[in-house]
Symmetry: C2
Subunit: 702 residues, 2 copies
């Protein structure tokens, strides 16, 4: 790729981005799109659906940018929660890192690279290959490589210190968040699994007697988990019917609106709608009550045990309870709405085995992913295709068709393939026996990150003979050399990747094309009130790996090809505005993980640094500067030591809260809050929604 | 090596063993040797020093064997503690494993190996090479190798199930030990380090206010640690003087025995001995009191905090206390006599850095150990020596000299080198910042085990071109193949290693040559009462790696060269008797680790199994049976999964006691024990002995 081609591509994509932003600033002002661009605001009742027309509605404005940047960190923390804060801090950290990297890269490394071999004519700049700006251009054994060497050391030190400060900031914010929040059920509750079966006693009795015996001063109540999968299907039906019935009663579907009960509602005698739905609901409820009475006995050996103080709950969840470590397993309870009910039936051994199985499946997926890569590379290699399907020869020889196939088709297939990966990861994680949606998402986030790095970085870098080269990882000694040879060669690919996939991704994030079209279609074909309106949940587990991947690219190419850095900086700056905007207007967190995504960010950053160091070791070797190669070896070790130190220093605070906070907060609560009211709510907070479903009939009966 | 040579060696060594045992059975009955062979009994007052002569004293008897085998596990547990039980159970486990292995090896694998190539003449048996009994003798690609394959699978299953049961047994015994024992200070106490410095408050005040605030219901008292290294030197002097003074007073050195205070006690005016020592002691005590008053201010930011219940202490030690995870670090306190005082000054960061430094030093030691190996191999290779020192040529050409040099000198150098390793390991471990001797010993035990396996197994196996072959570990793919080629070649070396080093080691263990000679010398030159008599502490950390190493040999050679198995079985049977005898008569545990050596035994056994599997994978490959090679690969994975399961199932119980036990025991104590009396002892239990040293003068002053 030559410089002018890159600049053209950058220009086009930047133009597209601003076009999309302009479009967004207009579209978001149309009242019909309020559910697309401001569902969170509507839910909070902050948005007014004004239908009045004014000229301002058609003019692009940048007010949304200002509004997105306005809230302080404290406001974000109190309004959007800790997870949202973590997401914005990822951008802040990345902007800081790549601002520094860009300055060093563009003003020091780039000139050094460009002057690498000889004095170059500046007139010919647009036709220069991008390789002239990469470390490839520096002569073997040249002393100029020591500049790169120093840059790597300084960059690592800067990243580590920024990371340390960020880690400290978020860890303190987490504590502050606890102090500021009102009492929440999950802080007082512990999930106990592996309750031993005592003959003659129900699970409930066993749990009660155990905690009354061993936590006599703090035990409050408990709720045993029941097997309710079948009930849940019935319940969903009932909920839908109930909603419809409320609408009928409230008059949005007129009472007189008759309904025929024959085929497709077209034949048969017409019946009163209310009576019709009421009858159906009654029947469903009878079913449910029957099932409920049957299920009452079907207890699962797990229970939510609530305590009178946070400290009491922490004691129960931090110390092994029973003599057999596979029984009386305790863990901090998730938020009530975050509980993932289906997996409670699993025993310790089954959970453990399914963990192993999922791990194997995940590794298999990583390996099998090579197959589509090879197939797609076959597409890019047209001769292969011609030998398979000779009749295509004429078509394939047409310039336009061949360009489409080699240029767009592979990346399209990749994108489609990547679309199905997040649900697969969620599926895998949900099989691991996590008891909450947030844990599942966190686990899926890690899997997705590994998968992204593997599929987008390593599979690309080692492509061509992908299956063959994977062998490299069995011979650790050769890894630096192979990576050093393969990674710089892909520099121009990744620069255009950032410019296209990265920037376009941001545009599509803000424009929300699919919900926009969907809203358009429903506006056309349905009446106003039938539209099911739901605030989307923040897709942390999809977004964080994507965002981190660009950090990995920037870090590894920092000294190889510094030309990539400004583009990544632009990505993070745009992303900062856009994601803040989306968090403020669109998404609403369904549950809070308490900043548990942050350790993933930390690990990913450290991994990127170490990967860069490994490539540097290999590259200095290839460039015949063995001293620099050896002198780089301490760097990954120091980085890993730094990481271990950080984990010891900060990670415990992400796992659980310290005694100091818990006791202080408990005492403050006892002074300030009406705890008896909270306790009465706490007692029923973890009741399985499926078992308290008969509320509908009570609500509705006149 | 041929069979007859092996049998000769076995015969000689077995004869030597029985000679030593006979000698022992006579020597132990001599009253003069009571302090050598029964110090523990003397300390407990069970031994009578009868000086009357009878014939029985000169006859060898086997009564000691019966007495060693008599006590049940429960008796061992209650009299000798859990660690002693663990040591005997290691032998029990090994005897079971190698009984099974011997049966399979001798009756199935050995005949298969022997009949490997062709029908062999049995007449020529004594002159057969040992290789005829090893897997080498089986033809490449022969289907007989499937018998080995099955044997490996069955052996692994048997070892795992035995290990599981043993794990379970010891873990239950640990709990039972808690229930049976009286209240011990360490169960109620937590060591707090990293106490933050609050300006205006002393450490003691900070600790008190923190625990009064956050553990108000269970906090009892605390003792701040002081910097007392210099004081300790003075104290040791004082202790010696005090002992002497008591002896003088009690009359064993007669009061009239005058002492001249001039040169060597020969000139000058004679003084009263009591007055002389008393004056010295007084002066020392003045010094100490001065130092003590100076030190009172020099507090170290660490304290022993005692609680009213075990559960209270467990809560404090299991949950992070302060907001900063590097402050208010809590851990279970060691026994009062087990505390290693010097390292308390270290902060979190310094402890952590010294850990890293020690790790690096340990790895360096492992690598540097290659140097003496190469040197010693140079000795074995006489031509090398001749070219270095030409004048030695004539001497070296003498058959006897060359035999001594090539045969005994290398192993002598090795043995001497190995003697200095345990102190080095203890030194390294004590630099890691452990706060108790038992933790230091446990850590040294792990280091010694790794060192033993590395130096005695890998360095031997990969010898010849040791430094060059170490490269193998950088290419994991080649490991099985290299090991499979190198390990079986050393079979006859390791068989004679078991017979000589193993069996001889046991003999020297029971005969206690050095203490015997020492006692003989002191008997000759000193009078009765001057003899300092001390019960030796059980050297778990030296013995356990040695014992486990033979298990590793047996496991890896199980299918390669089953001839080794009966010798290892004999080793373990003899060892079982001897170590029980030593534990009962000689050693006394100074402190109890609570069975924490057991997880090391577990890991070592699993490592041996996996090593065997890796060798099997390589060997089946070399023997041109690739299917068997691939089918062996799941075995190490399954074994590791089993190990992880075991660790999850049992290890938590080795780290800390569960709530159930603690609360039960607390309640039982409240009913049965006089707790207020215990508490008054507890308050002073962790006072630094250096700070309460002025007791001597009080005791002595008339």
């Amino acid at each position: 790729m030559i410089l002018s081609a890159l600049l053209t591509s950058v220009g086009i994509n930047l133009g597209l981005c601003f076009l999309f932003f302009t479009l967004y600033s207009i579209l978001r002002k149309q009242p019909g799109n309020a559910t697309v661009y401001g569902p969170r605001l509507i839910q909070e009742g902050k948005s007014r659906r004004s239908n009045g027309f004014n000229l301002d509605r058609l003019l692009p404005t940048a007010g949304w940018v200002k509004r997105a940047l306005d809230p302080t960190n404290d406001e974000i923390l109190s309004n959007l929660g800790l997870d949202a804060l973590v997401l914005t801090r990822v951008f802040v950290l990345s902007i800081r890192v790549f601002s520094f990297a860009s300055v060093v890269g563009i003003f020091i490394l780039l000139p050094v690279n460009y002057m690498g071999t000889e004095f170059q004519e500046f007139f010919d700049l647009p036709n220069k290959s991008l390789d002239s700006f990469s470390i490839y251009n520096v002569n073997d054994g040249s002393n100029k490589l020591w500049i790169h060497f120093c840059a790597i050391y300084i960059f690592t030190a800067v990243v580590c210190s920024l990371l340390y400060n960020e880690h400290k900031y978020i860890s303190l914010r987490r504590i502050a968040h606890l102090y500021e929040s009102k009492p929440r059920p999950q802080e007082f509750t512990v999930l106990v699994s592996g309750v031993p079966i005592v003959s003659g006693n129900s699970i409930s009795e066993t749990v009660e007697s155990f905690f009354r015996e061993y936590h006599s001063s703090t035990y409050l109540s408990h709720v045993v988990v029941h097997r309710t999968d079948k009930l849940k299907v019935l319940m969903n039906d009932a909920e839908k019917l109930y909603k419809k019935l409320t609408r009928v009663k409230s008059g949005s579907i007129t009472r007189q609106d008759s309904k025929r009960d024959g085929f497709l509602g077209m034949f048969g005698k017409s019946v009163d709608a209310v009576g019709h739905y009421q009858k159906k609901l009654d029947k469903l409820e009878d079913d449910m009550r029957l099932k409920q009475s049957l299920l009452a006995g079907e207890e699962v050996p797990a229970a939510f045990v609530s305590f009178k103080t946070r400290h009491g709950a922490a004691i129960a969840s931090n110390i092994q309870q029973g003599i057999d470590p596979t029984q009386w397993l305790t863990e901090t309870a998730p938020e009530p709405q975050d509980v993932h009910w289906p997996f409670f039936t699993a025993s310790f051994v089954r959970r453990w085995i399914s963990n192993v199985v999922v791990f194997v499946a995940f590794v298999a997926l990583l390996i099998l992913y090579i197959v589509p890569v090879v197939l797609v590379q076959g597409l890019a290699n047209l001769h292969q295709l011609e030998t398979w399907f000779p009749f295509l020869k004429n078509i394939l020889n047409m310039k336009y068709v061949s360009q489409v196939i080699t240029g767009y088709l592979p990346s399209l297939i990749f994108q489609l393939f990547l679309l199905i990966v997040p649900p697969i990861m969620i599926l895998l994680s949900s099989m691991q026996g996590y008891v909450s949606h947030s844990q599942i998402e966190k686990s899926a986030c890690i899997k997705l990150l590994v998968f992204t790095i593997w599929s987008s970085f390593f599979a690309n870098v080692l492509s061509g003979s992908a299956l063959y080269r994977v062998n490299v990882f069995l011979e650790p000694k050769n890894i630096p050399r192979v990576l050093a040879a393969a990674v710089p060669a892909q520099a121009s690919f990744f620069i255009s990747y950032v410019v296209t996939t990265g920037w376009t991704g941001l545009s599509s994030e803000i424009i929300r094309l699919v919900p926009l079209l969907w809203s358009f279609v429903t506006n056309l074909f349905c009446n106003e009130d039938d539209k099911e309106f739901e605030v989307p949940s923040t897709p942390f587990y999809v977004e964080i790996p994507r965002i981190l991947f660009f950090g990995l690219l920037g870090t590894t190419y920092f000294f190889l090809s510094p030309l990539i850095l400004p583009f990544i900086l632009v990505y993070y700056c745009l992303g900062y505005v856009i994601y803040r905007n989306q968090l403020l207007n669109v998404y609403a967190a369904k549950y809070e993980t308490g900043g548990k995504f942050w350790p993933i960010v930390h690990s990913s950053t450290i991994f990127s640094l170490v990967l860069m160091h490994i490539i540097a070791v290999g590259l200095f070797g290839l460039k015949e500067l063995p001293v620099a190669s050896y002198l780089t070896i301490p760097l990954p070790i120091l980085t890993l030591l730094f990481s271990i130190y950080c984990q010891r220093r900060f990670l415990p605070n992400f796992r659980s809260y310290p005694t100091e906070c818990l006791v202080n907060k408990d005492k403050a609560d006892a002074r300030e809050q009406n705890m008896s009211e909270f306790f009465s709510k706490l007692v029923v907070a973890y009741r399985d929604p499926a078992l308290s479903a008969s509320q509908y009939s009570r609500d509705i009966s006149p």
